[in-house]
Structure formats: structure tokens, C-alpha cells
Symmetry: C2
Subunit: 211 residues, 2 copies
Amino acid sequence: MPLPTPRTRIQKKNIQTIMDAALGVFSQNGFRGATLDQIASEAGLSKPNLLYYFPSKVAIHRALIAELMTTWLDPLREMDAQGDPIEEILAYVLRKLEMAREFPRESRLFANEIVQGAPNIMDQIEGELKTLVDEKAKVITAWISQGKLAPVDPYHLIFSIWATTQHYADFDAQIQGILPDKGTARFEEAATFLNHMYRAMLRPQIASAAH
Amino acid sequence: MPLPTPRTRIQKKNIQTIMDAALGVFSQNGFRGATLDQIASEAGLSKPNLLYYFPSKVAIHRALIAELMTTWLDPLREMDAQGDPIEEILAYVLRKLEMAREFPRESRLFANEIVQGAPNIMDQIEGELKTLVDEKAKVITAWISQGKLAPVDPYHLIFSIWATTQHYADFDAQIQGILPDKGTARFEEAATFLNHMYRAMLRPQIASAAH
DNA sequence: CGTGTTCCTGACCAATTGGTCAAACCTGAG
DNA sequence: CTCAGGTTTGACCAATTGGTCAGGAACACG
């Protein structure tokens, strides 16, 4: 029985190994496309051994998603209403881009889940996530009404940030197929590009002609 | 044997029915996650009947991808080097957004394929697609050197357009979970937002102070 | 009508799948 | 060393999967 909290160091190690292997397999094949044998093989364990630590395939997936959800939203949480609006948003963009580079598997796991209709995490999207987004949207709206940002829809602004940053993880195969160079330069180029893009669109226009 | 070109009207109709059903199933579950039984059931045909028209599961998938690739790139092809740069790019953005609204299943089919490493279409990405993108990147670069656009990396500009527009199809579940309204307003809002975003970032800055 | 071709199906198959289980194997505290 | 607990595995199972096949049903066309 998989104990709620890992007790022994063996449990800790194996659970970690399994989740790491499962992350790779689920993120590449989606839930239905992934097999326990694949995960077991990737983890260097036997299939019954997997099922000693997790009661079922979905349990592994759920554990992964749960772990991911807690850390995935941190960059957005860090956006500070007290800071300089444009710099705060740009910092958020760059943090998200950094996560796309650092944790592409996590990004793809998420992408797979959402593309398939988010069957397992819709409640968290409509709860935790929506709450956070609503809160930050209010912050952005306040910034706009203070004239510190160009007037844009805060929700779609956030969507565009998710889209443009996660794209570099989720669609990496396509990007690497198109971009001439094959190094990691694409992420640095992306940082420059997104920096320009969001600065340009968020810069408040010259104050209204009337004064 | 599935004849290369559909002959009878029955073939035409059934092949169409199958591909439509397969599009739905593949786009929601990915290739490995989709089953022939599911597709057959969705199409209202028996499984052996599917395999009368297509020799295998991958054949159906290949047919879908092939059909998609031909039309999916049309919006980009239409970008005209002779037109007004900003308007041309914006028209492209809106066409892509329109496709995300009109053909979300096609978008998700594509997304699934790329997220999983584009195993079946990497050659087309590195061939047809790359050629087209290279060509259009040159056009954009020319526009920039004529001072008609702000200087941005043309490749990443195109990536950002793909990301922001397809996001509304691929991640629709998330968007609908977050946005207050549930109608189709999100697409109109997106059009407004993207219009602002790309105009702001592409507008050439005031000519260099020196004159 | 008749008859050759196209279309369709139930029954079947081997391989793979998620999952079980009893028995064997470790491991660490006393 | 011991032995009770945690850990691991080979063998197994029922269900599902992609795919086959022989034959029947529907059609086209003279």
C-alpha cells in the first residue's frame, strides 16, 4: 500500500524514480497513450513494483498533476501589485519562459491534459487557477486605470503570455524543425522578442492630448 | 483495398465519414490514445468496415495529417509581400484566429502531433513548412529594412502568432474554465486583443532622431 | 433479370493492456 | 543472528487492441 507520506528512504527514492519516469512517458504520449510497462521500463522497475507504490495508473498521473499544479502557478503568484507594472509583467513572462526551458516535460504534461479537455483537472482550473487569475486580472486592471499600462484585456494578456512562453516547450519539435540553429539560442532569442513585444504593447500611449 | 482516388459515391461518403470521426477521436486522445473501435463507433460503421476503406490505423491518421497540411498553411501563404506590412500581418493573425475558432479539432490534431515530437510529420516540417516560413521571414525582414515595421525577429514573430491564435483552440478547456462568460465572445475579445498587441509591437518607432 | 463487383459483417486471432497474487527476497532493529 | 516488516518478482488473468477472413448483402449494369 502506498503510504500517504513516504516513510523509508527506499520509498522516497522509488516514488521519485517512478514519478520522474511517468512524467516523461505521460508528457510524450498523453494519459491513454502511456503504458505501465513503458513507465516501468523507463524507471528500471518491474510493473508489479510500480503497483506496489501506486495503486493504479491514474494514481500516478494524479500524483504528477497534483505536484505540478502547486508549483506551476508560482510565477504568476509572484507578480506584485506594488512593483512597477511593466517590469512585473515582463518578469512574469521571463519566469514562464524560463520554466518552459527548464521543465518542458511538465509543460507538455499540462498541455496534453488541457488539449484533451482537462478531464482530470477542470475543478482545479475553475477553482484555484481561476481565483488566482481573477485576482491578478484585478491588479492589472488597477494598473491600467492608473495609466501605467496601455488598456488591454487582462485575461487575454495572461492567455497570450501562457501561449507564447509554453509554445517553446510544447511545440519545441516544430520550432527546432524550422529554426536554422539547433542550440538553445531559441530561448534567448525568444526572451529578446517577448521582451520587445510586451514592452511595446503595454507601454501606455502618450497621455491623452487633452491636459 | 482503398483505391487511391475514391471512385463510387459510397466510397466518397464513407471515407469522408471515417475521416471526420477519426479527426474527432485523434484530436482528443492523440494517436496512441485513439482506438479503431472508438472511431468506428463515432462514424457509425463497423470496425472491419473501417479497415475496408483504410488499410490500418496509421493510414487513417496519415490521411488526416496529409489533408490538414495542405490547407493549414494557406493563411501564411496568402501573406502578400506587396501589401501593407502591418495590415498583411494582422490579416494573417485574424485568419489564423478564425481557423482556431472554425477548426479546433484540426488545430488539436496538429497540436497532439507536435507535442508528441511530430513523429509522423517532421519531414514535412523541415521541408514544406520550413521553406514557406523561411520565405515569409525574408519578406518580413525586407519590410523591416524598409522601416515599415519595428525590428523584430521574423521567426519568433511567426511563432508568437501561431502560439497566440492556436492557443484559443488547443487550450479552450482552460480558457472556458477561467473566462467569466461562456459564449463565443472570447474569440471576439481575442481578435481585439491581438489586434492591439501586434499593432503596438510592429509599429515602427519614430524615425531615428537624426535626419 | 442475371451476374460480376463493390460493400459489409460476425467470428476470430495474436498481442498488449492494466492489474492481481502468492511466494520469495531484503533489510534493519533488537 | 533473527525475524517481522518492507520490498520485489514471475506467473497469471480478463479486457482491450489492431487486424484478418470467409462469406453474405447490396449494388451496378448489360
